[in-house]
């Protein structure tokens, strides 16, 4: 299985994600420039955290117009796994692959801490290695991580089981403590916490590992079918 980590100008968790794949689950991974026209050689697309284009204007807003976005949309239409973490999540909402928006934290400050979240749906290609309702301890680091959507969207994503992770307690004002959601088709995940920073006990938690293992395993199952 081969992963692409998309590098926008200003992405800064790209290397962490690269190491997560290479050293964490020992899969093939390559860093892909935001100007690339094709992702045909890849089985999954990872959009890293950071401050694409400095987060100027609004996080993810300018990256949403980068050349590679059209290609990412095509990959999504093909049903390939696409995961956006933090800034990656913001970009995915900006380009409409995921509903809602990420607005400024309720407390009006950037927060960096390790928080508890719950797995609310483990029947996805991203979470099948976790237990339902399992508590994960994962780092967050964001200033605009407050998930917002209107009431009808909220009902929809609830009804469709699209809410994948919830914070165990309110950390930033997110509606219904939403920490991560998936699209209706089930191949696009966006989440604010950083699983790629939680792969080793030494750094405080290895709860992120199973997320990457889930993607790998789902792929292998599909290939072997």
């Amino acid at each position: 299985m081969k992963f692409a980590v998309i590098v926008f100008p200003g992405s800064n968790c790209d290397k962490d994600l690269y190491f997560a794949i290479k050293d964490g689950i020992h899969a093939d991974v390559e860093m892909i420039d935001y100007r690339s026209k094709s992702l045909d050689a890849f089985d999954a697309v990872l959009i890293p955290g950071g401050f694409s284009y400095g987060d100027y204007l609004r996080s993810g807003a300018i990256a949403a117009h980068a050349p590679i976005i059209e290609t990412i949309k095509r990959m999504s239409a093909l049903g390939k796994p696409i995961m956006g973490i933090c800034n990656g999540f913001q970009i995915l909402t900006e380009i409409g692959l995921l509903p809602g928006a990420l607005i400024r934290n309720r407390q009006n400050r950037f927060i960096c801490e390790t928080v508890d979240l719950k797995v609310k749906n483990n029947q996805t290609i991203f979470t099948n290695e976790y237990e339902f309702d399992q508590t994960l301890s994962l780092p967050v680091a964001h200033g605009e991580g407050n998930y917002y959507c209107d009431i009808s969207t909220l009902k929809q994503i609830n009804d469709n089981n699209q809410i994948i992770f919830r914070y165990a307690s309110d950390i930033n004002g997110s509606i219904d403590n939403i920490a991560g959601i998936i699209n209706k088709a089930g191949n696009v995940l966006g989440m604010m916490p950083h699983p790629e920073r939680a792969l080793e006990e030494m750094l405080g938690s290895d709860d992120g590992l199973k997320l990457f293992q889930s993607i790998l395993k789902s792929h292998m199952n599909r290939v072997n079918l």
């Binding site: 204007l57 609004r58 807003a61 300018i62 117009h65 909402t93 900006e94 509903p99 809602g100 928006a101 607005i103 400024r104 934290n105 309720r106 407390q107 009006n108 917002y148 959507c149 209107d150 004002g173």
Partner: protein, 83 residues
């Protein structure tokens, strides 16, 4: 050259934490007659005069980039020949 001023604000229904923080700072300074503060973004765009349909151009830019319709609204004014 024309000047276009664009104002982008969070939708009414969305809490504005920056506005809140500023409000309490203003109260802290003793100006208690300020009941409410909302904070938004303000842009000044300089536009070539030869643009044929400036309204549609500005609307495009706002919808696609300057505002996120999921959470924000915008309005703008065109000041012809502001030069």
């Amino acid at each position: 050259m024309g000047l276009v001023k664009v104002y982008v604000t969070y939708k009414e229904s969305i809490l504005d934490p920056q506005g809140e923080a500023i409000k309490s700072a203003i109260h802290g300074m003793g100006h208690t007659s300020i009941n409410d503060v909302r904070m938004g973004k303000y842009f000044e765009l300089n536009v070539d005069n030869n643009v044929s349909d400036i309204d549609s151009e500005i609307n495009l830019i706002c919808d696609d980039l300057l505002a996120n319709p999921n959470m924000e609204t915008y309005r703008y004014e065109i000041l012809e020949d502001a030069e």
